[in-house]
Symmetry: C2
Amino acid sequence: MASTQDVLDRIDRNREQHLDELREYLRIPSISTDPEYEGEVMAAAEFLRGKMDDAGLDTELVASPTGGYPMVYGEWTGAPGKPTVLFYGHYDVQPVDPLDEWRNDPFEPTLEGDDLVARGATDDKGQSFTHVKAVAEVLAERGELPFNVKFLVEGEEESGGESIEAYVRQDGGDKLACDCVVVSDTSMYAPGQPAMLYGLKGLVYMEIRVQGPNRDLHSGTYGGAVRNPANALAHILAALRDPDTGRVQIPGFYDAVEPLEEWERDAFGALPFDEDGYRDDLDVPALHGEEGYSTRERTWARPTLDVNGIWGGYQGAGAKTVLPAKAGAKVSMRLVPNQDPQDVARRFTEYVHQVAPSGVRVEVETVHHAVPTRIPTEGEAMTAATDAMEAEWGNEPVMIREGGSIPIVATFADVLSVPVLMMGFGLPDDRLHSPNEKFNVQNYHGGIRTVARFLDRLAAS
Amino acid sequence: MASTQDVLDRIDRNREQHLDELREYLRIPSISTDPEYEGEVMAAAEFLRGKMDDAGLDTELVASPTGGYPMVYGEWTGAPGKPTVLFYGHYDVQPVDPLDEWRNDPFEPTLEGDDLVARGATDDKGQSFTHVKAVAEVLAERGELPFNVKFLVEGEEESGGESIEAYVRQDGGDKLACDCVVVSDTSMYAPGQPAMLYGLKGLVYMEIRVQGPNRDLHSGTYGGAVRNPANALAHILAALRDPDTGRVQIPGFYDAVEPLEEWERDAFGALPFDEDGYRDDLDVPALHGEEGYSTRERTWARPTLDVNGIWGGYQGAGAKTVLPAKAGAKVSMRLVPNQDPQDVARRFTEYVHQVAPSGVRVEVETVHHAVPTRIPTEGEAMTAATDAMEAEWGNEPVMIREGGSIPIVATFADVLSVPVLMMGFGLPDDRLHSPNEKFNVQNYHGGIRTVARFLDRLAAS
């Protein structure tokens, strides 16, 4: 059987073709949030399915159980009794506005040095296409794989991901049964420095609505007579966090929090991190967060609470002397293992009602929640992944966590009960969701090679 | 010389004509805030000037020193050496939106029972036209007035009043010299119960802008790293008032406050006031304000602080996990004599900077301010006014204050150093600034008679 090096050589030989195929894929404006692009989103699904067919996979478009876009499914199950790897990705992309900030047409991929600039270049067409091309080249070189693979690539990641969530929970358990999941929708730590992401925060997103009088009032005529709902809202929001210690003041909020392990604090502390540069880039007078923790620890592994939006009364230019009828805010909390989003939502709601001043009516709604995830940092799949990354990039991957939430990762971990390997090939400055999104072509090529290496390492372990 | 009763009889005989003239005046849509109505605003000025000409006054349109709408000026100065009364009013009106809530065309005055329904019916065309018709009828009956009168009617009261403010301060001192000013732009206390307004609050209107990071951030990636400007704003706003006592927490805020006099507390307490009905009308669970004072005392004669508007981050439906770059609020304080708006603005600004959390940049701007006013409740002019009201309505007027500000009243008091008599003929439910504004025709007629009585009483005193 052809060696790993044979496969890597083949990947190198076909480098231009891989790039051409990615360009073709990127030319399809598969913006899932905008119904005008429905045809293009479907075209992207068909394109990807075609590439999986070409690779030698058995494919289908899995209809959405919620009426949304289908998932592209592909499998090679020629190794019965052998382990199975499930590759996840998404074929939809973010909208492109503000369009005038793009240097080129966002759907005409443009090479600028080693960077391929296009919407979706990294997120996630480019990254998830590495999985397809790696499997395709292994099959082309050897006619078989050392074990089974499945692909599930969704078209709604940028618009809520409802379809895949429902599908995995309802029907996916058997069909998707596997030994590990591979996701490439994250970043390396720095150029040349690979990273394995092993922890994601959860989320509870709440909305507070404060109703004062039944209509906007003249602040002269009625000022002093009724509780102002915007003032009341400020009191509620101010009570949520201690402004000095940065601690969330909701009783029991920290009860279930899994403390940072000693090795994690050491590992995070050892990572290169230019705190001054970070502060200057954000142009804030000082960084701020929960006392007793570093910036990395706070953003990656400590729960947080932020007002995401606030509104009420007059927001225009100049003066309008209104005492507003109502005010509201959106507040989200990022959770860490083992916080339970529903428990936190309940505590939040109780606390808001407890601290709310009299004379107004307060409603609290849970808009959205996601559970926190932590992947074991040991095990065969993880070792195969870290070995593959180190072999490809020449540096041992660093173990990192992340403050964001990827709900499908938690769902896979929950439903399939397997490790989810977050193996990112993007770079931190790839401008995901922003104008001039890019993907470094060396990283694209290295990503394909890394996935091929990973398959062989996993088979050998 | 014809008696007061002869004048009143004449006013009664010409009642229909007075109403017809007011209708004609109300048909002119003189909306000063909307540049589309410029021609109509000018037409209203010309109409009013014509009515003053007809009355026998010497008139002119006084050009605005700030490039806005002219003031209609009229005078009868045939009694040299005798006192002078200056009548103030405004010929512009509020916009009419929401138009679909009007039962009739807002500029086609419609009689509904005793109510004339039209935009401007009370505020202020109807009320200030009583001055013109009263003077016209006295002159028609007698060929002369017992003393001198001046009229100054502006066209920008609903759009900032800049022209008259500049004119009175720059050039008005000599031309407008008088012994008292009469303003009819307020309300009676209740049907049949006249009121003299002797106190108005001042105002300081501030804007607070809190700048966090230089761009909106992902609340997952950056939550815990930087101070959230919306959270910081909530802390600032919460620090402004004690939520329990309702007291403003700005150091020195109450230092200059003129305490309520004993007779005022007695007088306010003796006024009929249905507190339950008031609360039910506003549909709040409870009224609220500074502890130790009644609702009337708080709204009329105690300083207040209200958030007029608040904004920041995501205000749409659902969830957007943004850590906003900035947040802001508009906050106004209603002031009582002898609070100095500029001093309060300074204290506010210092306090906001003092309580602002670290890690954000805070700007405070004074948007607007107005000085509080208190008119002596004694003196010849005040006595003439209260006697005239009692004679006309059969009830002694109650002495009231008001939480709003009428900046021109303070300017008149300041520049001309004379009492400003606020003699209102409207009713509290006249729906000023709202759809279906109305003016009771009995009040219009009684208003003309009251002004005629006032002129004779003042001449006799």
